[in-house]
Symmetry: C2
Subunit: 168 residues, 2 copies
DNA sequence: ATATATTTTCAGTAATTATTGAAAATTCAG
DNA sequence: CTGAATTTTCAATAATTACTGAAAATATAT
């Protein structure tokens, strides 16, 4: 297989996967393109490779930068902006998990926190089902959060750091 | 706060969260509704609570059953079908992770497996960037899969089982 | 068997989300 | 400063995804 063909297939699959996980397909494709690029790419490169408009390219690059998955990269002697992606997939994964937690899970948990004090007979089946489900989710989320923090901080911690090296 | 109001807010938030993670918002709402219901609900109950059509309700209930998140439940003396949701959030989470892996990650990894043999100079920057990224993702996915299997099988294993009880 | 209740399907439509492209804003070299 | 290069914005439009409602299929009681 030719490299160009392989890249295309990778970009395509990464795009599909992104779509399934609630990420704009094009954003995932831009990310994929930068992941497999040997050198920084400009907006024009990205437009050309993915056949997308300037506006679309720009928006998705900005968003990838918000997610800390893509960085600007200066190419001397050129006024254009160039971009690179973080290529350590472990870092990519922890970054995405951390951000999705912050952006999406935390707001949900905040709402749950407001649903704990309900009027009425605490012993009715309806009441119990509700209270138990909410408490359950909160407990689960708390543990998941601890685990995520441990994983994210693993590299700053001598014990986990060495343990994680086996894992990575 | 009244129970009905709290339920509504929960259903709403769960729906938003689902949407952000690539799950049909209505499907997430049906799931939420069943999660906090004190008793099994019929299609008509779900239609009424969420103000959705019969077709929509039916489709989403079927899909939730495909995901093993919802089960039929027989109410004696009634011809209608009734539905309940798995309420142990730990089980819900492992179920979703397992199924998303199977449905979405595995196909991606299958594609990656086909992209390892590329024509051309193995030492070019482009080539190296590509090969390394692919290998990286595969390695990461392999470890993630092992971890997921461990977690899923935890309850069938005496050691993990007792360990997990602290966690749940 | 027939009537009736219930579930499923799916073509048409509505709602949402993504994309374009060109104008406006910004940046930067001379 | 000036003007060309570049980036950003956003209204219009396209593409995708979700929903409805009624007809068809299925199941159940008598």
């Amino acid at each position: 297989m030719k490299l160009a063909e392989a890249k295309l297939q990778f970009i395509q699959s990464w795009g599909v996967l992104g779509g399934q996980w609630g990420i704009n397909r094009t954003m995932a494709q831009v990310h994929a393109l930068l992941l497999v690029a040997g050198n920084p790419l400009s907006t024009d490169d990205i437009m050309a490779e993915l056949s997308i408009s300037r506006g679309n390219a720009n928006m998705n690059i900005r968003e990838l930068m918000d997610w800390k998955l893509v960085d600007k990269s200066i190419v001397s002697g050129d006024r254009k902006e160039y971009f690179t992606a973080e290529k350590d997939i472990w870092k990519v994964a922890t970054c995405i998990m951390y951000q999705r937690k912050k952006r999406e899970l935390d707001p949900m948990l905040k709402v749950l926190g407001q649903l704990t004090d309900i009027e009425g007979d605490k012993r009715s089946a309806e009441m119990k089902a509700f209270a138990e489900t909410i408490a359950n989710i909160q407990k689960f989320a708390g543990q998941a959060e601890k685990t995520l923090d441990t994983v994210i901080k693993a590299e700053e911690n001598w014990f986990w750091s060495s343990f994680m090296k086996m894992f990575k």
